[in-house]
Amino acid sequence: MRLRRTMQFIPGNNPGMVQNGGVLGADSIILDVEDAITLREKDAARLLVASALHSINFYKSEKVVRINSIDTFAREDINMIVPCGPEAILIPKTHCAADVHQVVEWIKAVERPGQKPVKLIPQIESPQGLIEAYAIAVADPRVEALALGAEDYTATLSAQRTKEGTEILTMRMIVVNAAAAAGIQSIDTPFTDVNDEDGLIRDTLLAKQLGFKGKLSINPRHVDIIHQVFSPTAKEVEWALRIISGLKQAAKEGSGVITVDGKMVDKPIVDRAERVVQLARTLGLLKEAEK
């Protein structure tokens, strides 16, 4: 499954930002025709996104489109955009597994023969969607990640949305677990204060601590900061490499369990170390000898 440490929203009706989407360095870019676009401009945005997918090189960033909700214009969006080859679709306001099935049905009707199947990332933005999170996560093999939309969720609850986020803690934990149980990724809600870099770092550290694999981003200046948080630190990489080499050594000597840094190295630790090394390798953080 590909890295989605950052998923950067780009207003789908803004050609200047769309054409530079691939230069922002985000793992995924989300061409947005939903909340970023006024009602009157939905038609133009849809065409621009389709045209951009057709012509613009987004380099290594995954091409994701956030369509409108199922009860508004999702079908028109899918009809025009899917044949242009988005890699994934972010489904806003997903309430239940049936929503996912409906989107899959509409996609299959217009996907071209031989086209790589479009993946799905349902966005949980309501209490109902939260309750159904696991069912949504396993609703279809195309579902690769669950994303969070905390603004709509807290609005529905009439809860107060704060930077430190107690009001969405349960939502975060449920989504992380539902995704993990389904074997897919979880993507945290965006940090909405454009200028508060320290706040962004704290919020992203919390997301990482809880087990999220990435974060939605609403400002390109957040991309590098979020990446830094989700990348293993030099210390973590060094620790992981010691675990791996310790194990190799133990295997050679024929001994069974080993200890590193005074801690017994059991399977969960081995798994964690291997994930860190794998991530470091993907990010190009390993020196030649370590690869």
Partner: protein
């Protein structure tokens, strides 16, 4: 005749003389003496203070055909050039040459003076705004002479640019003509670009809105060559110093480019104690200073000096102890002005000290790195900062070609596409800075290193920075935007582009419109 960057240049130009063709950035060695300006005298009891510019014009007297000079330290907030030229027009003077170190948007009234024949020649290092458009359209009979910031004082010192009357705006002056730019309500900082004018002009007129008791302290320009002091209501608006080109970019793409440029400088092994740098105008260049500051902090390294073109970002580094000294030829914002006034580690230098190639060594020669912008850059790494791709003049070398020649590593930062226009082209419309002095191009879509610098190529590769051939960048730009149609200019030359050593590196021709 063709010069060594393959540009067609004339052999002689009436208002300029014999043309020496550009033949390489470091090949021309001077063999002349400096010019000797006339000796002045002033008896005890002589009074320099004059009531008005008109009175000064009468006393000198300013005649038709004279060369009047100005500095641009108030940049787009300058009032003095317009006031002086309006006075000249009012007095019925004609065929004057304006030798201003730069001409900005605020100097649009020059267009009317050019139309009416008050001004028939211009000699400058930067030409922008309406005056530039009018020149490109062919308003003057004689070509404008475009020099670099280092070349202008060189030309003044060596007698190629003879100034009859230098008008020096000063934010503080005493009645004997001691001047500075750091005191007073219109403080603009360093007066570096006025110093050669003060030394060599036949007549020197100080223009101030802040007359102080004798003697002024500190003194940037001494009384010994100043003939008259005119007090006016206001010499300019210091807020006009800051413009879009002297503000750090907030554009995420520009910031990414700046960050990458800082990484290039690090990869070149330059971030060491004593590190020296300069950043030119343009939001992305200035942002690089910010990222360099972060690197210095992270590595615990103290830089030796920052040169330029000084901004608040550099002042910040000085105050944090991340850089030891600032060498200032021009203030780009009010933080720089204030720092010059109050910090002994922030020193003022002249234009000649900064960048002239014909003295015993200028400041740019000591630079480890300089970060500059570019309107266009071609596959030979030649840079254009004089004309836009529509052929209209929108700038000039300023210190671009000087700093590029002096610095160990010259980095150009630029968006690969400006709007829809590719920045990388086969041949730039106007060569300002020759490719042999340009080392690295950093865009948001790739880094290209000049093939002349295999050492840098290796350093970048070792640091894991991906490199592309500059031709690939051009092709990438064209695959995104389409191949642009070349603009067609007329044959008539409207400006000569003089390289810092006095040779002609290119010409600007009249645009169709």
């Amino acid at each position: 005749m063709k010069n060594s960057v393959n540009r067609e240049i004339p052999e002689r130009v009436d208002n300029y003389g014999e043309v020496t063709p550009f033949n390489g950035a470091f090949t021309l060695i001077p063999t002349m003496n400096r010019q000797a300006p006339r000796v002045k005298s002033c008896l005890p009891g002589d009074i320099k203070l004059v009531d008005s510019l008109e009175e000064v014009f009468r006393r000198i007297p300013v005649k038709d055909g004279m060369t009047l000079s100005f500095h641009h330290h108030l940049r787009n907030g300058d009032y003095v050039l317009n006031m002086v030229m309006d006075t000249a027009a009012k007095l019925g003077l004609r065929n004057l040459k304006v030798a201003a170190s730069s001409i900005h948007l605020v100097h649009a009234p020059l267009v009317a003076h050019m139309k009416s024949g008050v001004v028939t020649e211009i000699d400058t290092s930067y030409l922008g705004g309406e005056a530039a458009k009018a020149v490109s359209a062919g308003i003057l009979d004689k070509p404008v002479i475009l020099r670099s910031h280092g070349g202008r004082p060189r030309a003044i010192e060596c007698g190629q640019l003879k100034i009859d009357v230098a008008f020096i705006a000063a934010s503080a002056a005493d009645d004997c003509g001691n001047l500075n730019g750091v005191s007073g309500p219109s403080a603009c900082g360093s007066l570096g670009y006025a110093m050669a004018d003060a030394e060599y002009a036949d007549w020197v007129v100080a223009v101030t809105d802040n007359l102080v008791e004798y003697p002024l302290a500190p003194i940037s320009i001494p009384q010994t060559r100043v003939d008259y002091v005119v007090r006016v209501d206001c010499i300019g608006d210091p807020k006009g110093i800051v413009s879009s080109t002297t503000n750090i970019t907030r554009d995420p793409i520009g910031l990414r480019i700046a960050q990458t440029a800082a990484k290039v400088i690090e990869a070149a092994g330059l971030i060491k104690p004593g590190f020296s740098f300069q950043t030119g105008v343009g939001g992305a260049s200035l942002a690089v200073a910010h990222y360099l500051g972060k690197m210095l902090e992270a590595k615990g390294v103290t830089a030796g000096f920052a040169l330029g073109g000084i901004t608040g970002t550099m002042v910040d580094l000085l105050n944090k102890g991340l850089v030891k000294r600032i060498i200032d030829v021009q203030g780009f914002d009010l933080d720089a002005v204030r720092s010059l006034a109050s910090n002994p580690d922030h020193v003022e230098i002249s234009g000649s000290f900064y960048a002239s190639p014909f003295n015993a060594g200028c400041a740019v020669n000591r630079l480890d790195t300089v970060v500059l912008g570019a309107t266009e850059i071609d596959v030979h790494f030649n840079v254009n900062v004089v004309t836009g791709s529509d052929g209209v003049i929108m700038g000039g070398s300023g210190g671009h070609s000087d700093a590029a020649a002096g610095a160990k590593v010259t980095v150009i930062v630029a968006n690969l596409l400006r709007g829809r226009l590719p920045t990388v082209v086969d041949n730039v419309l106007t060569v300002t800075t020759p490719g042999e002095t340009i080392d690295v191009l950093v865009t948001e879509r790739g880094i290209a290193v000049n093939p002349l610098r295999q050492d840098l190529k290796k350093a970048m590769s070792d640091a894991g920075l991906p490199l592309v051939d500059i031709r690939e960048l051009k092709e990438e730009a064209e695959s995104i935007a389409g191949i642009p149609r070349q603009i067609v200019t007329k044959d008539r030359i409207v400006a000569l582009v003089e390289y810092r050593d006095g040779s002609i590196i290119d010409v600007v021709r009249q645009t169709e419109i």
